[in-house]
C-alpha cells in the first residue's frame, strides 16, 4: 500500500467528523438550541483557550492517576495472570473473584474508596487499578493458553525447563493479547480516574467538571470532555507505538520469499 493510499482510507472518517461539527455549529448559530444548553464548537474552543491554565493544572492530576493506576494495574495483572497460569488452584480460586470485581459499579464504589483512603490520589489510583486489571489479566491468560502444546513439547525435547519455556515461548506468545487488553484498559483508565474525581476530591478534571456544572458553564464542561477524548486517543497512540516496538516480527512482511 502506498502512502497516499494509506492516508486515503482515513478520508471518510475525517469527512464525517468535520460534517458533524459543522452541523453542530449551524444548529447553535440558527438558535434552534439555546447556547446555554448546547454551546457551539466555537464557544467550546474559546472556553478551552480562556481557561487553559486551570484546566491543565487539573489535567496533570488526572494524568498522574491514570498513569500510576495503569502501571500498578499492569504489574498486578502480570503477576496474577502468570501465577494463575502456572498454578491451576490459583486460577480456579481467583478467576471467579476477578469477574466479580468487574461487576462492581465504579460509581458505587468510588465514594466508599474516598471514605477509606481520603480525598487525595490514593482512592482514584485504586479505582483505575480495579478497572484496568481485568482486561489486561484476561488478555495475558488467553495469550498464555494460546500456546500450541506441541511447541511446549518441542521445547521440552530440547531440554528446556519451565522458566525457559515461559521466556522463549509463553511470554512472547502472550504479548499480542496483552496489548489488546492494554488498549481497552488505557481508555478505561482515563474514564475511571475522571469518574472517581467526580465523586470526591480536590484536584483533577472530574473535580473541575463538577465545579463547572454547578456554575452552569456548559462550554467549559464540553472543553474538558474534548480534552479527555484527546488524552485517551494519545494514550491509545502511545500503546500502539509501544506494541509495534515490542513486536517487530508483526510488521515483517509476509510472502517475501527467498
Amino acid at each position: 500500500m502506498s502512502k497516499a493510499q494509506s492516508y486515503a482510507k482515513y478520508i471518510p472518517a475525517a469527512v464525517a467528523l468535520v460534517g458533524i461539527i459543522l452541523i453542530w455549529q449551524l444548529v447553535c448559530m440558527t438558535g434552534i438550541v439555546p447556547s446555554y444548553m448546547l454551546p457551539s464548537p466555537v464557544e467550546v474552543v474559546k472556553a478551552l483557550a480562556s481557561d487553559i491554565e486551570t484546566i491543565m493544572f487539573h489535567a496533570k492530576f488526572t494524568l498522574q492517576e491514570t498513569f500510576y493506576g495503569l502501571l500498578i494495574g499492569i504489574a498486578l495483572s502480570f503477576i496474577g495472570a502468570t501465577l494463575m497460569d502456572r498454578f491451576g488452584v490459583i486460577d480456579r480460586a481467583f478467576y471467579p473473584l476477578m469477574i466479580i470485581t468487574q461487576t462492581i459499579p465504579t460509581i458505587a464504589i468510588a465514594p466508599i474508596l474516598v471514605l477509606w483512603f481520603g480525598f487525595d490520589m490514593a482512592p482514584k489510583i485504586i479505582l483505575v487499578v480495579i478497572t484496568t486489571y481485568f482486561p489486561i489479566a484476561v488478555g495475558l491468560l488467553d495469550g498464555y493458553k494460546s500456546v500450541d502444546k506441541d511447541e511446549i513439547d518441542l521445547m521440552r525435547s530440547m531440554g528446556a525447563g519451565r522458566i525457559a519455556i515461559f521466556r522463549h515461548v509463553k511470554f512472547p506468545a502472550a504479548l499480542p493479547h496483552f496489548f489488546s487488553g492494554l488498549k481497552i484498559a488505557s481508555s478505561y483508565a482515563v474514564v475511571g480516574a475522571v469518574v472517581s474525581e467526580w465523586l470526591g476530591g480536590f484536584n483533577g478534571l472530574g473535580v473541575y467538571m463538577t465545579r463547572m456544572r454547578k456554575a452552569y458553564a456548559f462550554d467549559n464542561m464540553f472543553a474538558v470532555i474534548i480534552l479527555i477524548i484527546v488524552i485517551s486517543l494519545l494514550l491509545l497512540l502511545l500503546v500502539n507505538i509501544i506494541s509495534k516496538a515490542a513486536m517487530p516480527w508483526k510488521k515483517a512482511e509476509r510472502g517475501n520469499y527467498e
Binding site: D148, D150, E151, D153, L154, M155, R156, S157, M158, G159, A160, A164, H168, V169, P172, A173, L175, M247, W249, A252, E253, R254, G255, N256, Y257, E258
Partner: protein, 244 residues
C-alpha cells in the same frame, strides 16, 4: 556401530495398548524409516524415544546411556515446523544451544556456520513468516540438527509440502547427510518417500502397533535419479504393501 536402541517398549493409554514390544535400532550415519498407517503408534514411539513420555515397559539407550524419560538427549522435529514466530531465523536455529547454556553471541556464531550448508544463506535475520514452506522446513531441520548430538528424530517432516517441493527436499536432505554426520530416524506414511530415503525400513502395523517387518534397501547412495522407476523399487514397494 549402533547409536540408538529401544528395548521391548510398551505403552498403554487407559488400558488400551498403543505400542507393544518395540525393538528397533539405528546405526551411526544411517537413515531408518518407520513406515505405517496412521494410528499405529509411530508418534507415541517418538515421544518415548525423545523422553517426553515414559514407556510402561522397556528402555531407550543412546550409545550406552539409558535415556528413558529424559528429554534433551536426542533432537526431535515435530510434524509442523514449529518455528517461533517472534524470533529471527538465526535465533530460532540457535535456541537449542542457548538452552544448553551457550551465550547468545556464541550460539548465533555457531549456528551461522551451517546456514550455507542448509541452503539458508541470507535468511538469518528474517522472521519465519517471511520464508516459504520449504525454507521454513529447512530452518526447522537446522534447528533440530543444532539440538542434536548426531541423532535426529523426524516426524513426517515433509508431509505438509507440495509434491514438487517435497522431492526437491528429499534430494537436498540426502545431500546434507553426505556432508554432516547425522543418524536419522524418520516417520512417514509415504511408501515412495521411505524407499527413496532409507537405508532400512521398519514396518509398523496394527493396534497395538508392532514392528511387522524390517526391509533393507540395498541401493547405494547417492541414489540414481530414476531409482523410483526401476524394477527393484517396485519390488520393494510390493513387499511393503503386502505387509501394511
Amino acid at each position: 556401530m549402533t547409536i540408538l536402541r529401544t528395548e521391548n517398549i510398551t505403552k498403554s493409554y487407559n488400558d488400551k495398548t498403543v505400542i507393544e514390544d518395540i525393538n528397533i535400532h539405528l546405526k551411526e550415519g544411517e537413515l531408518v524409516s518407520l513406515l505405517g498407517v496412521s494410528g499405529s503408534g509411530k508418534t507415541t514411539l517418538f515421544n518415548i524415544i525423545s523422553g517426553l513420555i515414559m514407556p510402561d515397559g522397556g528402555s531407550v539407550q543412546l550409545s550406552d546411556r539409558d535415556i528413558t524419560g529424559k528429554p534433551g538427549s536426542v533432537a526431535y522435529m515435530l510434524q509442523k515446523d514449529m518455528l517461533l514466530p517472534h524470533k529471527k531465523i538465526i535465533d530460532n536455529v540457535s535456541l537449542p544451544l542457548l538452552l544448553k547454556g551457550m551465550p547468545r553471541k556464541d550460539a548465533r556464531a555457531h549456528a551461522d556456520k551451517f546456514f550455507e550448508e542448509f541452503g539458508l544463506e541470507g535468511t538469518q535475520y528474517k522472521y519465519p513468516n517471511q520464508l516459504s514452506g520449504g525454507m521454513k522446513q529447512r530452518a526447522a531441520l537446522l534447528r533440530t540438527y543444532m539440538a542434536s548430538d548426531g541423532v535426529v528424530l523426524l516426524d513426517e517432516p515433509f508431509s505438509a509440502l507440495d509434491t514438487l517441493t517435497k522431492s526437491a527436499m528429499h534430494k537436498w536432505y540426502l545431500q546434507v547427510m553426505e556432508h554432516i554426520s547425522l543418524s536419522t530416524l524418520f516417520i512417514t506414511h509415504d511408501i515412495d518417500e521411505a524407499i527413496l530415503l532409507s537405508d532400512r525400513i521398519y514396518i509398523m502395523s496394527g493396534a497395538p502397533g508392532k514392528i511387522v517387518d524390517e526391509i533393507v534397501i540395498e541401493e547405494k547412495r547417492p541414489r540414481r535419479d530414476d531409482f523410483n522407476l526401476t524394477p527393484e523399487f517396485l519390488e520393494y514397494k510390493k513387499r511393503i504393501i503386502s505387509k501394511l
